[in-house]
């Protein structure tokens, strides 16, 4: 009986480049999913990636499509320009929590409020990765970071910021979802959500945001497997997974 290939590497990432991500970092999984989804949609040649600053910037050598590197936090503003000038391209921004939720929150909220027609992939790992583990707006209460060595305190730093809940207060966004890639089941679910987010853009429906809650083994100070336990026990408790806005379903 002939063998059938059931899983092969996507054309969305470079075939011979080893990514710069740490062992256990889930950035690679999300890059792969974006590549697979857009390859399925047959639009890899029209795909433009606008990325922020941080660990997501390591993807510029890893992906095989066009990349624009925006100033820190301004990926949504740059993507607005790209999409308005060239409506036939498929534009997505790829940002971490320090980029999207802290420095670029204004651009994100404004782009969402205007209902700009692009897709946002938001990686939330509760810490600044590349700069060395500083506290992010999404850092959990009590979690240690290099700028909060005794753990985050409510009276000094406030509560973690929930981007999906924040944006769901606005009327314009089309699709807001929080998901994870910690198990194969969640990876398949996330692929479905990313596909819907890109399909919304092709159909011209407006702003779609996919938030992926991931781990950062290096800066959390765990091994990859211990970080998974922390992710499931603590991060999912603070950041519940689910669909926060889907206008297709609301109208139906």
């Amino acid at each position: 009986m002939a063998e059938k290939k059931v899983y092969e590497k996507t054309l969305g990432v470079m075939p011979d480049v080893i990514s710069g991500f740490c062992p256990g970092c889930m950035h690679g999984t999300v890059h792969k999913l974006v590549g697979e989804v857009v390859q399925e949609l047959g639009m890899l040649d029209k795909l433009v990636r606008v990325e922020g600053v941080g660990c997501c910037g390591l993807g510029q050598q890893f992906v095989s499509h066009d990349v624009i590197i925006a100033a820190h936090g301004r990926a949504c503003a740059v993507a607005t320009g790209v999409k308005r000038c060239s409506p036939e391209s498929l534009v997505y921004t790829y940002q971490g929590d320090g980029d999207l939720a802290s420095i670029g929150l204004d651009e994100t909220v404004s782009a969402a409020n205007r209902g700009e027609n692009f897709t946002v992939i938001f990686i939330n790992n509760g810490i600044y990765g590349m700069t060395g583990g500083q506290m992010a707006p999404t850092t959990l209460i009590g979690m240690k970071a290099t700028t909060a060595p005794f753990g985050r305190k409510v009276e000094e730093h406030g509560y973690p910021m929930h981007v999906c809940e924040l944006l769901s207060q606005l009327k314009t966004p089309q699709f807001l979802v929080r998901t994870a890639v910690d198990t194969p089941q969640n990876v398949i679910k996330t692929r479905k959500y990313i596909k819907q987010a890109f399909q919304n853009q092709i159909d011209g429906k407006g702003f779609s945001l996919v938030e992926v809650v991931t781990s950062c083994p290096t800066n959390w100070g765990y091994t990859a497997k211990e970080a998974l336990t922390f992710l499931r026990e603590k991060m999912f408790e603070e950041f519940p997974l689910g669909v926060y806005r889907d206008k297709d379903k609301e109208e139906a």
């Binding site: 059931v6 092969e8 497997k225």
Partner: protein, 70 residues
């Protein structure tokens, strides 16, 4: 005869072991050899049990695994 077969690009493996804990049949294990980056890479320890479900390939952050099924 095994139902499935995995092929691991050993140079890409970073030994995070996500595939090892995801495999429903416990086919994969971390081997003794290391690749040029110094990571002990994952090998197919029980290739006969593989059912070709591609769970390991789905979760692999480095896209290092390709899967064939009979």
């Amino acid at each position: 005869m095994a139902k499935g077969r995995v092929e691991i690009a050993t140079e890409f493996c970073k030994s995070c072991e996500y595939c090892v804990i995801s495999c429903p049949k416990n086919c994969l294990a971390v081997g003794e050899k290391v690749n040029s980056k110094g990571y002990p890479y994952v090998v197919s320890a029980n290739p006969e049990d593989c059912i070709g479900c591609a769970m390991c390939a789905q979760i692999c952050p480095e896209s290092a695994i390709e899967v064939w099924r009979q």
